[in-house]
Amino acid sequence: MPSIDHEGLAKRLSRELSAAWAIARKDMRIYYLKPNIVVSGILFPLFMFLAFATGKNAPPGTLIPGLISITLLFSASSIEPVSIPIERRVKTFDRLLSAPISLHSLVFGESLSGFLYSLGIACLPLAVGVIVLNTPVVNLPVLVIAMILTSFCFATLGTLFASYPTENVGEVMSMLNTVRLPLIFISGVFIPISAMPQIGQKIALFSPLTYGNDMIEFAYTGKSLFSPLLDIAVLLVFILIFQLAANHLYKKFNE
C-alpha cells in the first residue's frame, strides 16, 4: 500500500499558501487604489444601486441587503480584470507563471486580493445600515458566511475572466460586464425572485448572486427562498467550477 508523505504534503501546502498570500499582498499594495478599480469596484455599484433604489417606495434600511450584494459582486470581480492585463503588458505576469508554485495557488492568490478588497468595501454599506439607518442584522454568522462565500465566488469569477489573453483592461472589463450587469437583474437584488416570470425564476438558479443575495436577505430578515445550507453548498460549487475553469484557461492560453 503506498504511504502518504504527510509532512511533505503539509510543507508543500504551507509553501503554496504562503506564495498565494504574497501574490495577494502584492496586488493589495499595487492595485487597491488604482483609479479604474475604485470606479469599477466602489463607485459603479453605488451609482447602479442609487439609480434603481431612487423612486422605490421602500424604507431605506430594507435596501441594505441588496446594496451589500451588488457591492460584493462588483468590488470582488474588479481587481484581477485590471491587474492581470496590466501585468501581462509589463511582463510581470511571466514572473508569476514561471515561479515554483502551482497554477491553483496562482489563481487562488490572485482571487484572494479581490476577496479581501470586496470584504472591506462591503463593510461600508453594512456600517451605514447598522449605524445610520438602524437596520439590525438578525443572524450575524449567516451574514459573515454569506459575505465570505459571495465575495470569494466573484473574486474567482474576476480571475477567470482575466485569463483571456489580452493586455487590454477594457477588453476583459467589457466581457465581464456582459455577465455582471445581467446578474443584478436576475438574482433577486432589485426584483424578488418570487415576483419574476417563470423563465426568469429558472434563469436565476444559474446565477451565483441569487444564492449570495438569498443568504444576505436571510441574515437581515430571517426569510429566504432557499435554505442557507443549500445557498452555501451552491456557492461552494460555483467557486470550485470557477477555480478549475480559471486553472484550465490560464494553462491553455499560455501555450
Partner: protein, 318 residues
C-alpha cells in the same frame, strides 16, 4: 548529472512548427549561449524550459526534474532574468526582492539577508526604499537580475542581460555573472550581442527556423568557416565613396564601415592587402592601421542562419 537536458522537443502552433526536434544538454557549471535571429525559436525554447508552456512532444529536465511533470521542483533550482525588466514599478526595490523571495519559498531570515546582500552588490541598497518607477533603465535591469538570484539558483536563465545598458550597469552585471560562473552556477544565456556570447560562453547553440544549426565552443565554430577572413584598416582621411570603392576591389566579398575603420571580407587576405595599398597610393591616402582577422562568432552566426550583411547591419534574407 546535466544541469539541463533537452531531448527531441517539438513545438507546434497549429500548422506552424516553432521547434523542430531540438536536442542539447548543458553541463553543470557551464555557460551556454543560445543564439538565433528573431523568430528562430529562442523565446519558445525558454518558455518550455521554464515550464510556462508545454512541448508538443519531447522532454526537458532541469537537474533531473522533468519540467513538464515535476515543474515545481525543476523551477525551484532556477533563476529567470527576463529580457524585459519585469519589476513592479509601484513597489520599492526592497519589496520587489522580498516578493520574489516569497515566490521562491526562501525562508524569512534568509530572504532579508539575501536581499540586503544582493541590493548592495548591485549598487541599489541606498535606493532600497524607493519605488522602482523612479529608477533608470540600468537600475531596473540590475534589480531584475538581483530578483533572479534571490533563491541562489543553480541554473540561471539570462535573457539579453546587458542589452542597451549604461556602462556602469553593464560592468556590474558582467562582473556578477562572472562571479556566479566561478561559484559553479550554470548560465543559459540568450543574447543578440554575439561578442558577449563569444567572451562569456563555454559553448553556444545557434538556432534557426526552429532547428539547431550548430552547437560547439565559439572557437571551434569559428574554425568551421576559416574561409571567411577579414582585414580591418583605417586611412588618414575618409570620404563617403570609400566604402563602395573598397567593396569593388578584387577578391573583396563584402565591406563594412564601423567608426573610422573598414572591414573587408575575403578568402585571400594577402591579395587584398596589396590591392588596398595600391588603392591608397592612387587616392593619395595613408594607411593608419591594418590588421588581418579570422572569422568572428558573428560571421559563423550569419553563415549558419542565412542572414546577410547590408551597409554594416545584418538583415534577414527572408
Amino acid at each position: 548529472m546535466q544541469a539541463l537536458e533537452v531531448s527531441h522537443i517539438i513545438k507546434k502552433f497549429g500548422p506552424l512548427t516553432a521547434l523542430n526536434d531540438i536536442s542539447f544538454s548543458v553541463g553543470e557549471g557551464e555557460t551556454f549561449g543560445f543564439l538565433g535571429p528573431n523568430g528562430a525559436g529562442k523565446t519558445t525554447t525558454i518558455r518550455i524550459l521554464t515550464g510556462i508552456s508545454s512541448p508538443t512532444s519531447g522532454t526537458a529536465t532541469i537537474f533531473g526534474h522533468d519540467i513538464e511533470h515535476d515543474t515545481i521542483a525543476a523551477r525551484q533550482s532556477m533563476g529567470i532574468v527576463s529580457e524585459n525588466s519585469n519589476v513592479y514599478d509601484d513597489l520599492t526595490a526592497w519589496q520587489n526582492m522580498i516578493f520574489s523571495a516569497q515566490l521562491y519559498h526562501v525562508a524569512r531570515k534568509e530572504r532579508e539577508k539575501k536581499t540586503e546582500e544582493l541590493l548592495t552588490i548591485f549598487g541599489l541598497h541606498e535606493r532600497r526604499n524607493d519605488k522602482v518607477h523612479g529608477f533608470s533603465k540600468g537600475m531596473k535591469r540590475r534589480l531584475t537580475l538581483a530578483m533572479g538570484l534571490v533563491n541562489s539558483p543553480r541554473l540561471l536563465f539570462l535573457d539579453e542581460p546587458t542589452s542597451g545598458l549604461d556602462v556602469q550597469s553593464n560592468l556590474i552585471i558582467r562582473d556578477v555573472v562572472t562571479d556566479l560562473v566561478r561559484e559553479g552556477v550554470t548560465v543559459f544565456l540568450t543574447t543578440h550581442n554575439i561578442e558577449e556570447a563569444n567572451v562569456m560562453c563555454d559553448r553556444v547553440a545557434i538556432i534557426n527556423k526552429g532547428n539547431i544549426a550548430a552547437i560547439d565552443s565559439p572557437e571551434r565554430l569559428k574554425k568551421t568557416i576559416q574561409s571567411v577572413q577579414s582585414i580591418e584598416l583605417s586611412f588618414n582621411h575618409s570620404s563617403a565613396d570609400q566604402l563602395d570603392e573598397l567593396r569593388r576591389l578584387p577578391l573583396v566579398n563584402d565591406a563594412q564601415k564601423a567608426g573610422d575603420k573598414f572591414k573587408l571580407y575575403t578568402h585571400d587576405p594577402s591579395e587584398v592587402i596589396d590591392a588596398v595599398m595600391a588603392y591608397a597610393r592612387t587616392h593619395n591616402l595613408k594607411v593608419i592601421s591594418i590588421t588581418t582577422l579570422g572569422p568572428s562568432l558573428e560571421d559563423v552566426f550569419i553563415r549558419l542562419t542565412g542572414l546577410q550583411r547590408a551597409g554594416g547591419a545584418v538583415h534577414a534574407i527572408d
